[in-house]
C-alpha cells in the first residue's frame, strides 16, 4: 500500500517535470516558428505590385529605396541605377488627381485600364496598385518582388514595419538602442552598486546591515511600471531642464531608471560575495599591518570578484529584458542613437508597444517574434556568461 503511494507520488512528479519541460520547449519552438516566418514574406505588401514603364531599365529596388521613393526622398531614377529622369510615384489614392470620377466609373471599374495606360505613357512612373486590378495584356513592367533578405533584417538600419508599399524590418536601431541603454545603465549602477556592497559588507555595523539589506531587497519587489512612472514624472522633466533638451524622454532617462532597477540585484549578489570572503582572509591581511581599505581593495574585492561580476551581469540581464519602465521614459524613436540624450527604443519596448497593432500572421507580427528571438539569444548569452563566471570561481 505504502509502496503504491510512493510510486504514485513519484510518477506525479515525473509527469509534472516532463510537462513543464515540454511546455517550455513548445514556447521556444513557437517563438522560432513564428519568427522564422518573416523570411518567407515578400518585400512588397501582399496582393500589390510595383509597376513601371516598359522603357524603364530598373527592375530591382530595395525596400529602403522603395520607401524613399514614396516618401519623395528619392526623386531621380539615376539614383537607383536607371536612366536619368524624375521619379513619379503613384498610389491608388492618387487616381482621383489624374482622372475624373466619370472616367473612373462609379465603381472604379475603369480604373485598372486607365492606370495601365497611364503607366504606358509615363516613363518615370512607379505605381503601387493591386496586381489584379491591371489588365493582363497591359504593356508594362514590374519591379521584382522577392523575399525579405537576412541582411535587410539584421543589418537594416531602419525599423518601419508599417510603411507601404514596402515595410522596413531593420533591427539595428532596436538592438543598438537596447545595448546602449543597458550599457549606460550598468555604467551608472556599477559604482553605486559596488559602493553600497562594500559599505554594507565591510563598513556598516551588523545592525545597520540587518536593517538595510531587506530595504534594498524590497526595491526588487516594486513593479517596474512604478519605476517607469517615477522616471516619467521626476527624471524626464529633470533631464529636460538640466540639459535643455527639446524632450526629456531619452536614452539617458531609460538608463537611469534601469540603473535604479538593476541596483538591488547587483548589491545583493555582490554584497553576498564580499560577505562570504572568509574572516581568515581579512585577518591575515590586517595582521600584516594592512589598513581596512587596503584589506578591502587588495583582498576582499579580488577574492569576491567573480561574485561581483555575476551580480553586475545579472543586473545587465535585468536591464536588457526590462520592458515597461523603458517603454515609458525612452521616447521610443526607432533610430540608431548617436547620443544618449536622444530618444531611442529597445527590443522589449518595441514588442510591447507594437504587438497590439500588428495583425496576427502578418509580416509585422512575425518581425516582432523575430525580435523576441534576438532578445532570447542576448539574454541566453548573458546567462551563459554568469554561468561561466561563477563556475570559474568555484574551481
Amino acid at each position: 500500500m505504502k509502496k503504491l503511494l510512493e510510486k504514485l507520488v513519484a510518477s506525479i512528479f515525473t509527469v509534472s517535470g516532463l510537462l513543464t519541460s515540454i511546455v517550455i520547449l513548445l514556447i521556444v519552438g513557437f517563438l522560432f516558428s513564428e519568427g522564422a516566418g518573416l523570411f518567407r514574406n515578400r518585400i512588397i505588401d501582399p496582393g500589390y505590385v510595383l509597376a513601371v514603364n516598359k522603357s524603364n531599365p530598373v527592375r530591382e529596388l530595395s525596400p529602403e529605396q522603395i520607401k524613399a521613393i514614396f516618401d519623395s526622398d528619392l526623386v531621380d531614377w539615376a539614383e537607383v541605377g536607371g536612366d536619368s529622369g524624375p521619379i513619379v510615384p503613384f498610389r491608388l489614392e492618387d487616381a482621383d488627381r489624374y482622372f475624373s470620377e466619370a472616367q473612373l466609373g462609379p465603381n472604379y471599374e475603369h480604373a485598372g485600364r486607365l492606370i495601365a495606360e497611364l503607366i504606358e505613357r509615363t516613363p518615370g512612373i512607379v505605381a503601387f496598385v493591386p496586381g489584379q486590378m491591371l489588365p493582363p495584356d497591359a504593356e508594362i513592367a514590374f519591379i521584382e518582388d522577392r523575399t525579405i533578405s537576412f541582411s535587410e533584417i539584421f543589418a537594416g538600419k531602419e525599423w518601419f514595419p508599417t510603411a507601404t508599399p514596402s515595410p522596413l524590418f531593420g533591427i539595428v536601431p532596436l538592438v543598438t538602442g537596447t545595448l546602449w541603454v543597458s550599457f549606460f545603465a550598468i555604467l551608472f549602477a556599477f559604482p553605486f552598486g559596488i559602493g553600497v556592497s562594500v559599505y554594507l559588507s565591510e563598513i556598516a555595523s551588523e545592525r545597520t546591515r540587518q536593517l538595510l539589506r531587506p530595504v534594498i531587497e524590497l526595491l526588487n519587489g516594486i513593479p517596474s511600471v512604478v519605476y517607469g512612472f517615477f522616471g516619467l514624472v521626476v527624471i524626464v522633466p529633470l533631464l529636460q531642464r538640466v540639459f535643455g533638451l527639446p524632450v526629456g524622454e531619452s536614452g539617458l532617462a531609460g538608463s537611469i531608471v534601469l540603473a535604479i532597477m538593476a541596483l538591488p540585484t547587483i548589491i545583493a549578489v555582490a554584497e553576498d560575495a564580499m560577505h562570504n570572503c572568509p574572516r581568515a582572509m581579512r585577518e591575515a591581511s590586517l595582521a600584516l599591518g594592512a589598513t581596512q581599505w587596503q584589506t578591502i581593495y587588495r583582498v576582499v574585492i579580488p577574492y569576491s570578484i567573480s561574485g561581483i561580476a555575476s551580480g553586475v551581469v545579472l543586473g545587465i540581464g535585468r536591464a536588457v529584458g526590462e520592458t515597461m519602465a523603458v517603454l515609458m521614459v525612452t521616447g521610443n524613436a526607432a533610430v540608431i542613437p548617436t547620443s544618449i540624450l536622444e530618444p531611442l527604443r529597445t527590443i522589449p519596448a518595441t514588442i510591447a508597444a507594437e504587438l497590439g497593432e500588428a495583425p496576427a500572421g502578418g509580416a509585422h507580427y512575425e518581425s516582432l517574434f523575430l525580435l523576441g528571438i534576438v532578445l532570447f539569444f542576448i539574454t541566453l548569452a548573458i546567462n551563459l556568461g554568469v554561468e561561466a563566471i561563477s563556475s570559474k570561481s568555484r574551481s
Binding site: 582572509m281 595582521a287 600584516l288 594592512a290 587588495r298 583582498v299 577574492y303
Partner: protein, 250 residues
C-alpha cells in the same frame, strides 16, 4: 627588560569574563607556549597581543600590555604599525587568492614599499627562511592554493616574516596539518627563534614541550602556572597542571 609584559589583564566578550587577572612576561627571542583546554582563554590572550580582538564588537579590556615598554592599548598607538611589528600565523593556512610571490610581497606592498628589486630580494630571503624556496622557486607565479596544506602554512609564515616583525604569534599553527608537515613547522620555529620572539598557542603538549622555552598553562580564563617548559612538564607546582599534562582532562 621583557619584550612583552602582560599586567593584570582582564578581558570580556560581552558579559563573558574570558581572561582573569593574567600577568606574565616574555623575554626577547624566547619561545613561549600557551597551553590549556579549549575555551581557557589562551587564544584570546594571543590575539590581544596584536590587537586582533579589536575586530570583535562588544569586548572590554582592563590592565596593560606592554611591547618594549610601550602600552599597545594606548590611545596614541598606531594599530597597523603594531601589527607589522607583531606578526601572526593562524590555525588554518590562509594564503590570499594570489600568486605565491604576491602572497609574500603583500605585507611589503601594503606598507608602501614599491622598490621591485627590494621586494623580490626580500621574498626570496623569507621563502628561504621558511624552508620553502627550493620547493616553490620555479612556480612563484602559481596560485598559492596550488600548494599543499603544509606548504601553505610555511608560506603564511614567510608572509608574516617578510615585514620583519620582532614578535611572531602562532595560533595552533600545526593543528590542521599532517605529522610530517607539523615536524617541518616545528623545525622552522626553532630556526626563527634566532630572529624573533615567538608566542605559540597549542593543543599539542608534546609540541609545546619540543619547541618552547617557557610554558603558560591556562584554565577557565586564569593563568594557572607559568615557568620553564622543562619544569612545567616534569615537576609542575599545581595539581591542575599535573592533571592536564598527564591527560586526565582537557
Amino acid at each position: 627588560m621583557e619584550k612583552i609584559l602582560i599586567r593584570d589583564v582582564n578581558f570580556w566578550y560581552g558579559d563573558f569574563h574570558a581572561l582573569k587577572n593574567v600577568s606574565l612576561g616574555i623575554e626577547e627571542r624566547e619561545v613561549v607556549a600557551f597551553i590549556g583546554p579549549s575555551g581557557c582563554g589562551k587564544s584570546t590572550l594571543l590575539r590581544l597581543l596584536n590587537r586582533m580582538n579589536d575586530l570583535i564588537p562588544a569586548t572590554r579590556l582592563t590592565g596593560e600590555i606592554l611591547l618594549d615598554g610601550r602600552d599597545i592599548y594606548d590611545r596614541q598607538e598606531d594599530v597597523d604599525r603594531l601589527r607589522k611589528e607583531v606578526g601572526m600565523v593562524f590555525q588554518r593556512p590562509n594564503p590570499f587568492p594570489k600568486s605565491i610571490f604576491d602572497n609574500v610581497a603583500y605585507g611589503l606592498r601594503v606598507n608602501g614599499i614599491r622598490d621591485k628589486e627590494f621586494i623580490a630580494h626580500r621574498v626570496e630571503e623569507t621563502l628561504r627562511g621558511a624552508a620553502l624556496w627550493d620547493e616553490v622557486k620555479d612556480k612563484l607565479k602559481a596560485s598559492a592554493f596550488a600548494l599543499s596544506g603544509g606548504q601553505q602554512q610555511r608560506l603564511c609564515i614567510a608572509r608574516a616574516m617578510a615585514v620583519a616583525p620582532s614578535v611572531l604569534l602562532m595560533d595552533e599553527p600545526a593543528s590542521a596539518l599532517d605529522p610530517i608537515s607539523t615536524a617541518k613547522i616545528e623545525e622552522l620555529i626553532r630556526e626563527l627563534r634566532r630572529e624573533v620572539t615567538i608566542v605559540i598557542v597549542t593543543h599539542n603538549m608534546q609540541q609545546a614541550a619540543r619547541v618552547s622555552d617557557r610554558t603558560a598553562f591556562f584554565y577557565m580564563g586564569e593563568m594557572v602556572e607559568y615557568g620553564l617548559t622543562k619544569l612545567i612538564f616534569t615537576d609542575p607546582l599545581k595539581e591542575a597542571t599535573q592533571n592536564y599534562i598527564t591527560g586526565r582532562f582537557g
